[in-house]
């Protein structure tokens, strides 16, 4: 029977090729690492080497003596991949803690955008951009007679909505900080 049965899939392939899984979830991870040279390269190398997604990544030292950094990573994948990502991160020697904020409960996400909108002075677009900025609570960080640079903070969705509106009003330049996130409630990591 074994002899009669031909190998099922991919003749000639030494590996098993699986179709992409549609059940991808977006997760926000907070990773506490030793603040040392190369630590970011280790984290990024892990993601690229194992084919995981990075949608956003921010990093900065966060404790008083700057010995630790907190990396916020927004990633996506199937539940199995997300679990792998966390376990693989935990395996890195300079990693102290990995928190899956998405899984651990409600959390707040914020992103900073700097958006420059170039629109002729006294034009409709210039006035409109200022009005939208007011609605979104964006501040004017810089201005010339032909442009505004807005600074706007909010959830990634709100920031993207703001940026999209600004894009419709003229030539724009957009800078995004990437997402930072913190769990709601009275407990600290």
């Amino acid at each position: 029977m074994a002899k009669k049965k031909k190998p099922a899939a991919q003749p000639g392939s030494a590996y098993i090729i699986q179709p992409p899984d549609p059940n991808e979830e977006r997760h926000t991870l907070a990773v506490v690492v030793t603040n040392e040279p190369g630590v970011l390269a280790r984290v990024i190398g892990l993601f690229s080497g194992r084919g995981y997604n990075i949608e956003s990544l921010t990093v900065a030292p966060v404790n008083e003596d700057e010995s630790m950094s907190r990396i916020t990573i927004v990633t996506s994948g199937t539940p199995m991949i997300i679990e792998q990502i966390k376990n693989q991160l935990n395996r890195l020697v300079p990693v102290h803690d990995v928190h899956d904020l998405t899984e651990e409960g409600p959390f707040v996400e914020r992103e900073l955008a700097l958006v420059k909108v170039i629109a002729k002075s006294r034009s409709h677009e210039r006035r409109e951009s200022l009005r939208i900025a007011e609605i979104f609570g964006a501040k004017v960080a810089d201005t010339t007679t032909d442009s505004f640079a807005f600074s706007m903070t909010g959830s990634p969705e709100k920031v993207m909505a703001f940026v999209d509106l600004m894009r419709a009003l003229g030539k724009t330049e957009v800078v995004l900080s990437g997402v930072v996130a913190i769990a709601r409630g009275s407990e600290a990591l």
């Binding site: 190998p7 003749p11 000639g12 030494a14 590996y15 098993i16 199995m80």
Partner: protein, 590 residues
Amino acid sequence: MAVEKPLTGAQVIIKALVDQGVEVVFGYPGGAVLPIYDEIFKQNSLRHILVRHEQGAVHAAEGYARATGKVGVVLVTSGPGATNAVTGLTDALMDSIPVVCLTGQVPTHLIGNDAFQECDTTGITRPCTKHNYLVKESEALAHTMHEAFYVARSGRPGPVVVDLPKDIQFADAPYIGPEAVKPRSYIPQVKGDTARIEEAIDLIANAERPVFYGGGGIINSGPNACKRFTDFVRMTGYPCTLTLMGLGAYPASDRQFLGMLGMHGTYEANLAMHGCDVMVAVGSRFDDRITGRLDAFAPRAKIIHIDIDPSSINKNVHVDVPIVGDVGHVMGQFQRCWKSRVKRRKNGKAVEAWWRKIEGWRKRNCLAYKMDDQVIKPQYALERLYALTKDRDTFISTEVGQHQMWAAQFCKFEKPNRWMTSGGLGTMGYGLPAAIGAQIGHPKKLVIDVAGEASIMMNIQEMSTAIQHRLPVKIFILNNQYMGMVRQWQELLHGGRYSESYSAALPDFVKLAESFGAVGLRATKPSEVDDLIKEMISVDNTVIADIAVDPAENCYPMIPSGSAHNEMIMGDSGIDAEEQSVAEDGMVLV
């Protein structure tokens, strides 16, 4: 010792090695490590084994580590020294072998300047080490050295690189002992979760078609872990299979042992895996060569998985009862829990029926081959090698390919740490340096490198190492004049188009051995095999034995990639039709 002169970096490095219990360093000197070599010259507690290529140094350290259970230590220079070590480091990472590799580096002020023999060692080795360090301050040197050993041997072991700029080696450096170094982050979980263990024991005690599937993690956990694993498997009376990396963790002669599983595993082991209702995976990682097609892997099994590395759990296969912990420790917990929890078992009849089924599969005698009285069958050569060496404590390493799989099938291991093979990375050229490392660890024992004529050429330069250090390793070449596994795949999957897989322009291995100062032997007929093996063992020198074997022989059983465990291709075993039909009935059942 009135006024102590401060130590130099190079002295601190040597002192740290000695304090870590290191006896042997495998290395190759060069400009960026000269201060360390100068200190090696001045002392007697470390033995330096000069290799002929840095890849060989790492493989030798791996062989040493696997044969002794200690950390293997490598010392190479900057630039090409470090890049040549990369294959060995990757190999050690894939097979979880504890290795500390010290690499020289250009002085700190030249780093990034494209200096002579400079390379970004930490950048290059980041993905192929468990961790790596660049020592930029001499104050951090001693701490880094000790931490490197801690990381290499703790948890799931692996290779660690310490990159040592030359100015650090010259600078004054404070010394602290290993006891003063406490791990800051990496603290692996050793003890298994009690609730999970109780859940696992209940599953195991009520299983009707159980199987144990052990891997290299058991060996890495130490001989004591192997003993506890063996004891526990015997307590249950259930069948047990081992991966390529796990061979020796359970005595091969035991009735409960089904042989190796996986792509070239035995019929009974693979069908037991396919048909089981409870699988106990111990220190194994569900590699693609083990699972075959994932969606058809053990379709009815509840899986219990014990591993010290949480990232191994649920990576390829969904696990029902994950237990993170050290195998040795968890097996002790299993035994205690089993004794206290399992009083009366109701699965006796079911397990008996399961064993009857397995015995039926065993009768299929899947490793059988057609004997020939003119041409040496590679299986025959290995069968005889095993028969003539089994009464000694024999250490076997292999290269990679058909001969490796045959060695895994035909050499039986009763104890751990006797078997050294490149499992994860599949590195041709691994066997000879690994055998050298094993022989260094066990100078009086018989160490054999089972090789193919193609693989052996990849690190043949290490013959000089063996001769220089008077290491009587035996290189047993199954010479089929092909890269056999490549040829087999080409035959089965690429219409017999043997593209570039013929070993053309081979050396005369007997003369080659002699030119190194070793002994060369050759057998071309089955009748010559026994005498050759006996002579090979009795000669007190490095030996290359060139066995001319059947070039057309394929390695079976074989699960082609993309197939399931019950879709094995069997070899021509010459078994009569009646027994075959019994086996096929068994196949239908699972």
